[in-house]
Structures are given as C-alpha cells and as structure tokens.
C-alpha cells in the first residue's frame, strides 16, 4: 500500500471536532448502578467514547457528539443509570462538514 496512507485513531478524530464546553452538566450518571450493570453498553455505543471503565464508570462530557444513543442503550440494555439531555443552547459540539 501507499506510504501516504493516513493512520487514524479516535483521539485524532476527536481533535478534528469543535466543542464549546457547557458549564452545566448535561449528562449525569448514577455510577453506583453501573457496578451491577452486566453489559455496559454505553462503553461501546458512544462514537466518542465519552464513557470508560476503570473499577467504576468514568465519563467525560467534553467530547460528547450529542447522538443521544447512550441514553437508549443504558435504559434498554444497561442499568438505567444515565440521564442525558442536550447541552445548553449554543454549547456542545459544532459540526462544520456534517
């Protein structure tokens, strides 16, 4: 293959997206419930990996691309721990080429 093949990673991808941080918490997780969650679907559905697991559920709303899919899988497959709404007006992700 050509040497001009670009190597991508999620970090590289997320660095290409513009975010305007919302000081208000628009995602809140009752992480106690996650301890008993068997499938932890949020870890896999999120295209920005907002959720990660290290002994407990950690989440960083700053990279949230606002798909809202975590809410659905958490409530239908997971432990019903996530509450999620869109960030405040004008905050959050901004796509230029969507």
């Amino acid at each position: 293959m050509s040497e001009k093949q670009e190597e991508m990673s999620l970090d590289k991808r997320l660095a290409l997206v513009s975010f305007n941080k919302d000081p208000e918490p628009f995602i809140e997780v009752d992480t106690k419930l996650c301890q008993k969650c068997e499938k932890k679907p949020c870890l896999y559905i999120c295209p920005a990996q907002v959720y990660s697991w290290q002994d407990q559920l950690n989440y960083n709303t700053e990279g949230c691309m606002e798909t809202g899919a975590c809410l659905i899988v958490c409530h239908k497959i997971g432990a019903k721990a996530i509450s999620w709404k869109y960030p405040s007006g004008g905050k959050g992700v901004s796509f230029k080429l969507g």
Binding site: E6, M8, N20, L43, I72, K85, L97
Partner: protein, 426 residues
C-alpha cells in the same frame, strides 16, 4: 427580539423545520424558528445526499441556488470479505436527481430561505419544555423564556424530547436506532473525478456491505463532495453495544479495507462526525400530532433506509411542508385541537414521497437478518472468486460452484426463505 405574538413555534431548524417555517411564513403566518446550535446545521450530520425533488417542491426554480457539492451520477455497491470485494456500479441518465451536500451549508441556507419568506430565526436556544394547558400544547419554554403560541411543530430530531414530553412517544428500542459515523477526507476535485470516473461537478454514491461491519447489522457509505469524500459507517445500536465492539472501530475497519484504501489514498481527514439514526419509521410515534402540536422529520421517523437508498432530508422537507399545510388549514378553522390536526396523518399517508415509508415498512425487520451482513457478502465474493480465478486445477460449472459455496454457511431453506422474503419486502 420580542418573543410575543408568534402564532407558530417550529423547534429545530433542520430541513423539516425550515421547510415548515418557510411554507407558513409565505402565507403570512407569524412563525418563530428555534435552533439550539449556533447556526442551523451545526448539530446535524448525514451521509451525504439530498434528492432534488423535495427541494423543487418547496422552492420551485430557486432550488438551483442550493449549496450543492456534486450531482450524483454514479451509484455503486460493494460486497466485501476481508480480502476481496465485488462491486456493481450504475450510471444514471438523470444529471440532477440528487446531490451531495454539507449540512452546515445546506441547513443554514434553507433556514435563510425561511427567514427571507418572513420567519424569525433564533439560534443558540435549547427548547426545554412545552407549555401544556388543559391537555393542549400552547407554546414552548426555552430557558427563562415562556413563548406562547397557537401551535408548535416539533422538528427536534431523533431524540425528540418534545414528542415524548407530549406523550406521543416512548423511548426507542436499541434495535430501532443505528449509530452513524463519518470521516470527511479532503481530496482535490481532480483526484476525485479521476478516481471515480466522473465529469467535473458530477458525483458518486457508494455503499459497502460485509467485512466492514464485522458481520453486525450495518454497512459503509461513501459520497463525493466537491473536494472531499464523506466516508462513513452505520451500525445497529443493539448489535454494537451487546456484542461489545466499540462503534468507532468500524470506521477503521472500513478505511483499512484495500477496496476503500485506494479510494481515500493521499487524502487528509478533516472532520469526524456522528449522529443517531432512527430506523423504526413512522411507528416510532403513537401518532404524529396532538392538540396544538405536530411532529415532523427525524422526530417523526420520516426517513427511509431500504437497504439501497438512504433518504432523510427529502422526507423531512416533504413532511415539514405537510405539517405547515395542516397548520394553515387549522388556522382557517381557528381550531388547533387534536381532532382538527388529525388531517396531518392522512396527508402523510397520501403524500407520494412519504408513502414510500409505508411501501417499505417491512424493510427494517428484513434488514435485521444478520445473514445479510455475515453470510451473503462472503457468498457473493467467494462465488466471484470461483468464477474468475483459474488455477489449472479444473473448474466446476457456475451453478455447481454456487451450490458448493453455500454449503455449511446457509441452509437451502434459509436461502430460499430470505430470497422470497426479500422479493416481498423490496
């Protein structure tokens, strides 16, 4: 801007919202169009293509001013295994039937058309709640502002908190939604035209099925913009999350396939986008109207993936127009009750473009058959290998070869069942 005196509030300045607001404003209705992003389109993502008819219907000849990237002339599909691929390409005789676009440009432009017609647009505003009085929607609440209106049109996208707030929807099931992701890869116009065999200004649309989704429900897509490629994956939310495969990894699976590598070679990725896609169709709502409110676009499930065409923006525009017409009639009657607004549902069913959703209503269930992703693409490629590959060890006739390929992978019964169901579904 004073937030008093509006007859209708349209929530969400995507294609459905702007089409509704434009249609209403043209008839002299005082309409407020509310957008949570800093500009219309800034929160929106799609694969890449808009079917022109809807825009013609909304704007007449002025549709030609739309921010078109390329008119799609070539349609293609590739079935892929890890190390082989089988592609079909069709070149359409219609030079302007559909076009690729970028939502940050297109949605912004469409909202501007609504503004020109007299609609008032406010951005940076998240609608938090509805004003509900006596079981009827009587306005919207955005932050500190309570905005009373005669009617609301909710075009607030897949997650539609407003339809749920009004009791028209419950939370969607994971198998009713997909995760869509895309990389926008910068590549010069000349390279694109050379690589895809296009004349200047012409574009290509391509679908990938098989190895890229690792056997899960989903597939890849590629659309050519002016000087970039929109390359993405769509995967079922249930599949990716229960089988514990991080959704973004499918992007690399697609990109690293040799068939795709050659298409994006020397390109530079300049943005990564993601969006949730509702796949349930209109049944995601118990009904698309209630007293004082209509729902249109993604929020009402007005989009169609029948496996070979992916339609959202055209359906959104058409449903936005239908919603506006319903409001105009109700306005004449001075009656925005649920009973008065129920003509909306009939309009949707009679609208030829939206009828396609009902014609193909069994498709989502058919597409949940995982053999489509983990058996048949392999079958197609292996059969092609058997047909074209000559190694001097003797060849079987094609039919015998096909029979041999299916052995152990899919039973004859399943194959026949899938074929018959396919014939009935599509």
């Amino acid at each position: 801007m004073s937030l008093e005196g509006f007859e209708v509030a349209v929530v969400g300045a995507g294609p459905a919202g702007s089409a509704a607001a434009l249609t209403l404003a043209r008839e002299g209705v005082q309409v407020l169009l509310v957008e949570r992003g800093t500009f219309p389109g800034s929160k929106n993502v799609f694969g890449g293509r808009i079917y022109s008819y809807a825009l013609k219907r909304l704007l007449g000849d002025r549709w030609k001013d739309a921010p078109v990237e390329r008119f799609v002339r070539k349609e293609g599909i590739t079935f892929m295994t890890a190390d082989s691929s089988f592609s079909i390409e069709y070149e359409s005789k219609d030079p302007t039937g559909s076009f690729t676009s970028i939502r940050a440009k297109f949605d912004k432009w469409l909202a501007e058309q609504a503004e020109k017609a007299g609609a008032s647009l406010i951005t940076d505003s998240r609608v938090d709640d509805l004003v509900i009085e006596g079981g009827r929607v009587k306005g919207i609440i955005a932050g500190q502002d309570k905005i009373p209106t005669d009617a609301v049109i909710a075009c607030d996208g897949t997650t539609t908190s407003l339809a749920r707030r009004a009791g028209l929807a419950t939370m969607l099931e994971p198998e009713e939604v997909s995760m869509g992701m895309k990389d926008v890869v910068e590549l010069s116009a000349e390279r694109i035209e050379e690589r895809f065999g296009l004349e200047p200004g012409e574009g290509a649309a391509h679908v990938f099925v098989g190895d890229c989704s690792g056997g899960l429900r989903g597939g890849g897509f590629l659309y050519t913009n002016k000087d970039s490629l929109a390359l993405g994956m769509v995967v079922g939310a249930d599949d990716t999350s229960t089988k514990a495969v991080p959704s973004h990894t499918f992007m690399d699976r697609l990109r690293n396939h040799r068939r795709v590598q050659r298409l994006i070679r020397d390109g530079k990725t300049i943005e990564y986008d993601a969006h949730m896609i509702p796949e349930a169709g209109p049944k995601m709502l118990t009904r698309p109207y209630t007293g004082g409110m209509l729902v249109a676009g993604d929020a009402a499930g007005h989009l169609l993936n029948n496996g070979y065409t992916f339609r959202g923006v055209d359906m959104a525009i058409v449903s936005g127009i239908a919603a506006a017409h319903t409001i105009l009639e109700a306005r004449k009657r001075k009656d925005y009750s649920a009973q008065s607004l129920q003509t909306y549902e009939r309009k949707l069913r009679e609208e030829p473009a939206l009828k396609d959703m009902y014609t193909f209503s069994k498709v989502p269930r058919y597409l949940r058959n995982n053999r489509l992703y983990n058996v048949y693409p392999d079958l197609v490629c292996n059969a092609a290998e058997a047909v074209y590959h000559v190694d001097g060890n003797g060849k079987r006739k094609i039919y015998k070869e096909l029979r041999a390929q299916t052995k152990g992978k899919v039973s004859t019964m399943s194959l026949i069942r899938d074929l018959l169901a396919g014939a009935r579904t599509f």
